[in-house]
C-alpha cells in the first residue's frame, strides 16, 4: 500500500547529464509527490537558488550586514557571500563552493541541502547528488547498482541494492520482473548490447516505481536467482541461461559468435594451478616477534608446506612467488599468479599489533570503491582479427583486475574461515575487506591470510612451530578442495 502513496522515480543516465554541465533539475521525492528544483551551473558546479529552497522547505531568508540568514522554526543558518563556509545552528561547516549571486538570486551549492539544511530540518533530507535526487522523509529509495555481463553462452545480471532491500523475481511469457520492497528506486540501468536472434535479454527498463522489467530475447531458456548480503547491500544475482536449440537453429553471423567469446579471467570449473605468495622476504622482514621470529621466515616455511600438501592432494601445479629469502616487488608477486593463469592466489602473512594481547588469524579480501568499479567497467574495445572482421575484447585496468572476482574471493574466504576455525585461533573479525595491493591485480579468486600475531608471545611460539604450521596447512588444503567442489558444482550454469 505504501507504494501507492508516492510517485516513484527512476533516474536514468543522470551522470551523463551532469558530466555535460547541463542545468537540469534536482528531483525531489516525498510522500505527497515529486517536484523539481532547478539547478544552475556556476563555475562548473551545481547550485540551487536559495529562494527555491525557501519555497520548498518553508525557510525564511534574510540579508543583512553582508550576511545571509536562513531561518527554519527558530533554527538558523548563516552564510557569508563568496565564502564556502556556513554556520549551522552555531556549528561551522564547510561547503564545496562559496555562496554566489547568479541571475539576480542568491545560489548555494547543492551540497548545502545535505550539509546545512538537513541538520536543522524536521524531515529527513537525503541528497543523492550523483543521481540528482533528493529524498524527503523516511522513504525507502534504495540505490541500485546493476551489471549485465555475458557468462559462457548465457548472461548474468547482478543488482546490488543499498541499503539492504528484499526483492521478488518473476517471469511471465517474454518478460521478467524484479520487484523491490521500496517506495522508489535510484538506479542507472546499464545498456544491453546483444540484439536480434543472439539476445538473451533485449532491454531492461523501469516498469513502475519499485519494479524493473527485463524484456527477454529469443535465446532465453530459463533463469536462476539468488540473493546474498554483502556489507550493507543485498546482492541479487540472476543467471540467465541460453537456449542451445535456438543457438543451433539460428547460428550467429561469423566471426565468431558473441556468446562464445572467451571472457577475461572468468572463473574456471576446476583448480589446475595455485600460486602461493610467501609475504615479505629479503631486506623486508615484515613484522618481528619479541623472540626474533620474523614474518618473512614463517611465511616461506608455511608456503613450502602448503605446496607439498596441495600437490599431493589436488595434483595441482603449485607455484611459489619466492623460493628463498629474497625481496620480491608486490606487482611481481601478483604477476606470477596472472602469468601462470592461476585458479587461486593465496598470500600468506603474519600480523603485528601494538597491543601484545591481540591474537588470531584473519582472512582478507580486496576492497574496491564505487569509483574503482566505474573505472573497471570500461566499454569493450573492438579490435580487428586475422582473416577479416572484428571482435570485442574486455579491457580491465591492471590494478582493478580483482574486481570481477571479489564474489568468488569472498566465497573462498568463507570456506577458509570455516576450515580454519576449528584448528587455529581466529581473530575477532575473521574475514575483512581492505585495499591490499597484492590482491587488487590478481585476475582470479584471491585472499590474503594473516596467520596470527608475532607480537603475541604465545602466537609467536605457535607460528614458528611445526604443530601450528601443519594444522594451518591442512585447513587451507581442505578449504581449497571444498572451493574446487563449489566451482565444479557452479560450472554448469557458467560454462
Amino acid at each position: 500500500m505504501w507504494s501507492t502513496l508516492v510517485l516513484g522515480l527512476f533516474v536514468l543516465a543522470a551522470r551523463h547529464l551532469a558530466g555535460q554541465g547541463g542545468a537540469g533539475a534536482l528531483t525531489l521525492v516525498a510522500r505527497d509527490g515529486r517536484r523539481s528544483i532547478p539547478i544552475a551551473i556556476v563555475n562548473n558546479r551545481e547550485y540551487v537558488a536559495l529562494d527555491d529552497l525557501a519555497a520548498t522547505f518553508q525557510l525564511a531568508v534574510r540579508e543583512e550586514s553582508g550576511a545571509l540568514t536562513v531561518s527554519y522554526r527558530g533554527r538558523t543558518i548563516v552564510l557569508t557571500p563568496n565564502q564556502a563556509l556556513a554556520s549551522v545552528a552555531g556549528r561551522l561547516i564547510s561547503l564545496p563552493a562559496p555562496t554566489a549571486r547568479a541571475g539576480g538570486r542568491w545560489v548555494v551549492p547543492v551540497e548545502f541541502i545535505s550539509r546545512a539544511l538537513a541538520p536543522i530540518h524536521d524531515s529527513r533530507l537525503d541528497l543523492r547528488a550523483a543521481s540528482r535526487l533528493l529524498v524527503v522523509g523516511d522513504l525507502r529509495v534504495p540505490r541500485l547498482t546493476m551489471r549485465y555481463e555475458p557468462v559462457g553462452t548465457g548472461a548474468r545480471l547482478t543488482v546490488d541494492a543499498t541499503p539492504q532491500t528484499a526483492s521478488v523475481v518473476a517471469q511471465e511469457s517474454g518478460r521478467m520482473s524484479i520487484r523491490f520492497e521500496a517506495d522508489a528506486l535510484d538506479v542507472v540501468i546499464p545498456p544491453v548490447q546483444a540484439q536480434g536472434t543472439t539476445a538473451i535479454v533485449q532491454a531492461i527498463r523501469a516498469a513502475d516505481p519499485a519494479t524493473l522489467a527485463i524484456e527477454l530475447g529469443p535465446r532465453f531458456a530459463g533463469f536462476r536467482a539468488s540473493t546474498q548480503t554483502v556489507d550493507a547491500s543485498t546482492r541479487l544475482v540472476v543467471e540467465l541461461l541460453a537456449n542451445a536449440a535456438t543457438e543451433t537453429a539460428a547460428p550467429p553471423p561469423a566471426p565468431p559468435p558473441a556468446g562464445e567469446l572467451p571472457t577475461f579471467g572468468g572463473p574456471t570449473a576446476t583448480i589446475r594451478t595455485i600460486v602461493i605468495d610467501a609475504g615479505h622476504g629479503g631486506e623486508d622482514e615484515g613484522t618481528k616477534g619479541a623472540n626474533g621470529t620474523m614474518e618473512k621466515d614463517v611465511t616461506l616455511a608455511v608456503a613450502r608446506r602448503l605446496r607439498a600438501v596441495l600437490e599431493n592432494r589436488l595434483g595441482a601445479r603449485v607455484v611459489l612467488t619466492r623460493e628463498d629469502d629474497r625481496s620480491v616487488p608486490l606487482d611481481e608477486r601478483t604477476a606470477a599468479a596472472n602469468n601462470n593463469k592461476a585458479d587461486v592466489f593465496l598470500s600468506l602473512h603474519a600480523n603485528g599489533s601494538i597491543r601484545p594481547a591481540t591474537s588470531g588469524a584473519s582472512i582478507y579480501v580486496a576492497a574496491f570503491t564505487d569509483a574503482d568499479r566505474s573505472a573497471a567497467a570500461l566499454a569493450p574495445a573492438r579490435v580487428p582479427i586475422f582473416g577479416g572482421g572484428s571482435r570485442d575484447i574486455e579491457l580491465v585496468p591492471w590494478n582493478l583486475a580483482q574486481i570481477r572476482h571479489v564474489d568468488r574471493s569472498t566465497e573462498l574466504a568463507r570456506i577458509l574461515e570455516h576450515e580454519l576455525e576449528t584448528r587455529v585461533p581466529l581473530g575477532a573479525r575473521p574475514i575483512e575487506q581492505a585495499p591490499f595491493r597484492v590482491l587488487e591485480s590478481a585476475n582470479m579468486p584471491a585472499a590474503l591470510i594473516e596467520m596470527g600475531y608475532l607480537t603475541n608471545d604465545d602466537q609467536e611460539r605457535q607460528l614458528a612451530g611445526a604443530a601450528f604450521q601443519v594444522a594451518f596447512v591442512q585447513a587451507v588444503a581442505d578449504a581449497i578442495v571444498r572451493f574446487r567442489d563449489v566451482l565444479s558444482a557452479g560450472s554448469g550454469a557458467d560454462r
Binding site: A84, L85, L92, I93, S94, L95, P96, E111, R115, G279, H280, D284, E285, G286, T287, K288, E295, L330, H349, A350, N351, G352, S353, I354, R355, P356, A357, T358, Y364, A367, T369, N399, G427, A428, R429, E432, Q433, A434, P435, F436, R437, V438, E440, L448, E450, Y453, L454, T455
Partner: protein
C-alpha cells in the same frame, strides 16, 4: 649653539633611558612569565588554550588492539578547510593523553596538506615509514586513523591520499595500496570501551 647642543643631548639621554627601561623592565613585566597561580590555572587546557577551538573526533587504538576508537577532542580552529584539516592532522599526530595510544608512530610530522576536488593530500615525514611496526593491522590502523580523522570531521573531504616526503608511495609497509585516495572506512572503528573522553 651650545644651548641647542645641550638640549639635544638631554633629549637623546632621556630617549635612551626610556628605551632601556622598556627593554629591561617593561617588556619582561608585560610579556614575562605570569605568576605561579596563573600557570596552574592554565595547565589543564594547555597548550591550545589561547586559540579558538572546535570539537573533532580523533582516533586511537582500542583496548583490543585491532580497532580504532573515536574520541571527541578540542582542536584548534582553522580558517577554511585546508587550515582546519591541518589543525586536525596536527592534533591527531600529537602524543595523546593517557591512556590513549595512537596507531601513528610517535614523531610523525606533517609536511604539507592541500585539498583538491574533495580529496585531501596529506604529506607526511619519512619517519612514518621508518618507525611503522610491521603487520598489516598496524598499517591499516595508521592509515585509517588519518583518513577517518579528516573524512569524519570535514565534510569537504571525501577521500585522503597519503604522501611521504612529498611523493606518492605504493604502501607504507607492504600491504595497503596508497596509489590512490582512500575513502572513509569505519570498518575498523569500534564503539569506545575505554575511559570516557574529555581530556
Amino acid at each position: 649653539m651650545n644651548q641647542r647642543r645641550t638640549a639635544g643631548v638631554i633629549v637623546l639621554t632621556a630617549l635612551a633611558a626610556n628605551l632601556a627601561w622598556v627593554l629591561f623592565v617593561g617588556l619582561p613585566q608585560w610579556y614575562g612569565t605570569p605568576p605561579q597561580s596563573a600557570v596552574a590555572a592554565a595547565a589543564p587546557v594547555a597548550p591550545a588554550a589561547t586559540g579558538r577551538k572546535i570539537k573533532a573526533r580523533l582516533f586511537y587504538v582500542g583496548e583490543d588492539g585491532s580497532t580504532l576508537v573515536g574520541v571527541e577532542q578540542d582542536v584548534l580552529y582553522g580558517e577554511g578547510a585546508v587550515a582546519q584539516a591541518k589543525a586536525i592532522i596536527e592534533a591527531q599526530l600529537a602524543a595523546p593523553a593517557e591512556p590513549w595510544v595512537s596507531a601513528v608512530p610517535p614523531g610523525t610530522t606533517l609536511r604539507a596538506l592541500f585539498i583538491a576536488r574533495g580529496e585531501a593530500f596529506v604529506d607526511l615525514g619519512g619517519e612514518l615509514m621508518r618507525a611503522l611496526p610491521g603487520g598489516s593491522l598496524n598499517e591499516m590502523l595508521t592509515i585509517y586513523t588519518l583518513v577517518d580523522a579528516l573524512t569524519v570531521n570535514l565534510p569537504a573531504v571525501n577521500a585522503v591520499q597519503l604522501l611521504v616526503e612529498g611523493k606518492e608511495v605504493e604502501t607504507l609497509a607492504g600491504h595497503i595500496d596508497l596509489r590512490r585516495p582512500l575513502a572513509q572506512s569505519l570498518a575498523l572503528v569500534a564503539e569506545p570501551t575505554g575511559p570516557t573522553d574529555g581530556r
